[in-house]
């Protein structure tokens, strides 16, 4: 479904060049829950940003359903970000001026003009309420981000990511800023979404304890995938998860 082929990415700061990805190849299947692990600075987040066309590779290509997406015109890239990909960030990245409900609705606001929004506004609001209920925040719809806990903010961000029924959810350290209990809750939620709604999830993490909850784990080292073990079967029986 989503393929990264021979991806290279170098960051330049002053005269220093840092090669982050060096000919990386990755293939993600539809409905898969993939976790990408690696040391800090190994290029996990960069890979995620490239897969989600938030950034462009120096060379190589990203293909979605066989179609190259990294070189699309900016308008089509914007549409893909709005409708096909959903993003979950370590620091939640909610808009502080808006309520939880408006934050969840933001992708719909972005995807619609005033004219197209008005006739569909009720169904979008209903879906936003449903998603907030699903993530257990139906009682917090009018609260601003600063009035929510870390876990609640991350749940709001997940609801926002799901609003447009994305095919791929890209999660960058979704539990990285949460305590163990909240992190576990978020992981269970993602697992449910993956299973119930058949959403492909690509998660970047350095927390090895949550990795067994995913279908497949890949490791990045020296800018390449160094370890792509077969799918872990079955998820609930893994010792690590039982320990959690």
């Amino acid at each position: 479904m989503l393929i990264a082929r021979d991806i290279k990415k170098t960051y330049r700061r002053h005269a220093v060049e840092i090669r982050v990805l060096n000919g990386l190849n990755l293939e993600v299947q539809t409905g898969e829950f993939l976790s990408i692990v690696g040391a800090s600075g190994s290029g996990k987040s960069t890979l995620l940003h490239l897969l989600g066309i938030l950034d462009t590779p120096d060379s190589g290509e990203i293909l979605l359903d066989g179609k190259r997406i990294d070189s699309l015109p900016s308008k089509e890239r914007d549409q893909l970000r709005n409708r096909t990909f959903g993003y979950i960030f370590q620091f939640y990245h909610l808009l502080p001026e808006l309520s939880a409900l408006d934050n969840v609705l933001m992708p719909a606001y972005i995807g619609h003009s005033w004219v197209s929004w008005w006739p569909t506004r009720r169904q979008w609001r209903r879906r936003a309420y449903e998603l907030l209920e699903k993530v257990g925040l139906s009682h917090r719809t009018k609260h601003r981000p600063r009035e929510l806990s870390g876990g609640e903010m991350q749940r709001t961000a997940i609801a926002r990511a799901l609003l447009m029924n994305p095919r791929v959810l890209l999660a960058d350290e979704p539990t990285g800023n949460l305590d163990a209990e909240s992190g576990r809750g978020i992981m269970q939620l993602l697992r449910e979404i993956n299973r119930d709604e058949c959403v492909t999830i690509i998660m970047v993490t350095h927390n090895l304890e949550i990795v067994p909850m995913t279908d497949r784990v890949v490791r990045i080292s020296s800018g390449r995938i160094t370890d792509d073990p077969p799918l872990l079967q079955p998820v609930p029986t893994t010792p690590l998860l039982l320990a959690i």
């Binding site: 938030l54 990245h93 001026e97 808006l98 606001y109 995807g111 005033w114």
Partner: protein, 488 residues
């Protein structure tokens, strides 16, 4: 959709935006007030300049008046000249009214608190009825304000005052032997022939009225408390003597008149120097019977006809090179041009205030965009386009401009409408007159709120706000989402 929501939310939640709004508001309010006052001054000044001058003025440099000859070589009287003018079809259709006048310099003398006061004046001989038809005369009279048939007739109280004055002088002259004895009026009903010889002139026996400028007849000074006090120096019925030059050899001549009314144009230049007397009487005094030195012309449609009428009149007076024909604007050209230049420069300087407001918007917007780096990244990750992000910040700038302009417009109009009260409060606070009325001879600060000017100011201010928000908005739009998301 998201652009409107975010613009409004940013406006509601950013206290920095409040500073931008206040900057724009103050700039707009200042521009509106200054423009309203300048326009008020300008309009009032133009009205007055035009008012007293009539649409077209024909005057001659000859001190003995127009010398227009007929086919037989005889000089035409003013009435004949007017009749000839009106026989021209182009002029007849376009001229509404014409009146002959004599304008000359003179010395005005009158008694005030036991001494004789002398003032240089401009004496104008007019036919009051036809002068009123030309306009810009009767509306400035004090007693006969707006009268269709103003005259030099004396009221009963004026004659009574004159009689009382005469008795006072007779008593004074008999006891104190003081001058001027010439002020005696011998027979009020006889009209003696003019006598141009100095010291041998007999005061005109018939009592003639004169309309004097308000500032000639009223003295203004400051009392011990610094308050402006107005004292009547010439009441209705008081005697004045006008001395001017007359005859072929321009010898001093004089005549006595009684004050019958005042001219109050609120233009200090006019109110301090104009004295109107009956045309026929001035003709006699100056020894120029059936002569005039100027014609005042009113047109049916000034803007439409001014050029063709002046052209035709130049043709009409082509054999008289000493005759000058000018519209009122040409007469007052340098003054009108000065007003416009002053207004233009002031506007340019004041628009710098909006420019300062614009730079504060630029600075504040740069801060807001830096503050919003992460939000921009979030919006882009959710599918917002560069153009969409640019629109958010441009729209935000426009919204700040609109809100600032709205408040500024209300504030500007409020200050303009209450400017005299504000001036009074400021004057009492500082102990110094902000608007010295004795300088301008206006009762109050004139203002003229022009909706078109306000619209231009508001559009300019909103445009400036948008222009100065463009650079930060452009920076925001070009921001890479990944860079923005990493920004902490």
């Amino acid at each position: 959709m998201y652009k409107i929501i975010l613009c409004v939310r940013y406006l509601q939640t950013r206290y920095l935006a409040f500073i931008c709004i206040v900057s724009v508001m103050l700039g707009v309010a200042t521009l509106i007030v200054v423009n309203a006052v300048m326009s008020g001054f300008s309009t009032k000044l133009k009205d007055r300049l035009h008012g007293i001058l009539s649409d077209v003025v024909i005057d001659t440099e000859r001190t003995d008046g127009f010398e227009v000859l007929d086919d037989n070589g005889d000089a035409l009287t003013p009435q004949q000249i007017i009749a000839q003018m009106k026989s021209n079809p182009i002029l007849r259709e376009r001229i509404e009214a014409v009146t002959p006048t004599i304008e000359t310099f003179a010395i005005l003398q009158f008694r005030y608190r036991g001494t004789v006061i002398a003032k240089p004046v401009r004496v104008i001989g007019i036919e009051p009825h036809s002068r009123a038809k030309v306009g810009g005369f009767a509306e400035y009279l004090v007693r006969q304000k707006g009268s269709r048939t103003p005259s030099f007739e004396l009221t009963a109280s004026a004659i009574q005052r004159h009689e009382w004055n005469r008795k006072q002088w007779e008593y004074h002259d008999a006891n104190m032997l003081s001058q001027p004895a010439q002020m005696k009026i011998e027979d009020p009903n006889s009209i003696p022939p003019p006598n141009l010889e100095i010291d041998k002139g007999i005061p005109q026996a018939k009592i003639h009225g004169a309309i004097v400028g308000y500032a000639i007849a009223h003295f203004r000074y400051r009392d011990d408390k610094g308050q402006t006090v107005e004292e009547v120096a010439l009441e209705e019925g008081d005697d004045i003597i006008i001395t001017t030059a007359g005859g072929q050899e321009l010898k001093p001549v004089w005549g006595s008149f009684l004050v019958t009314d005042y001219l109050k144009t609120e233009m200090s230049e006019y109110d301090q120097s104009f004295v109107f007397v009956p045309l026929d009487q001035l003709q006699r005094i100056r020894g120029m019977l059936e002569r005039a030195t100027a014609f005042q012309i009113k047109l049916h449609n000034y803007e439409r006809d001014k050029e063709i009428v002046t052209k035709e009149l130049r043709m009409f007076f082509r054999n008289s090179p000493e005759v000058r024909i000018a519209t009122w604007e040409e007469h007052q050209g340098p003054l009108l041009a000065a007003i416009d230049v002053e207004r233009g420069i002031l506007n340019l300087l004041l628009f710098m205030i909006v420019g300062v407001a614009g730079f504060s918007i630029l600075a504040i917007f740069t801060m807001i965009v830096s503050e919003k780096y992460r939000d921009i990244g979030i919006m882009k990750s959710l599918g917002a386009s560069n153009w969409g992000v640019l629109q958010i910040f441009l729209g935000y700038g426009m919204l700040l401009g609109i809100v600032g302009c709205t408040f500024g417009t209300f504030l500007g109009i409020w200050i303009t409408n209450n400017i005299n009260e504000i001036e009074a409060a400021l004057s009492s606070l500082t102990g110094r007159a902000v608007f010295p009325r004795d300088v301008y001879y206006f009762k109050e600060i004139p203002t003229n709120i022009d909706s078109m000017t306000i619209l231009m100011i508001d559009m300019g201010a909103v445009g400036t706000a948008m222009l100065f928000s463009l650079i930060p908005a452009w920076r925001a739009a070009r921001l890479q989402p990944v860079r923005a998301l990493r920004f902490e």
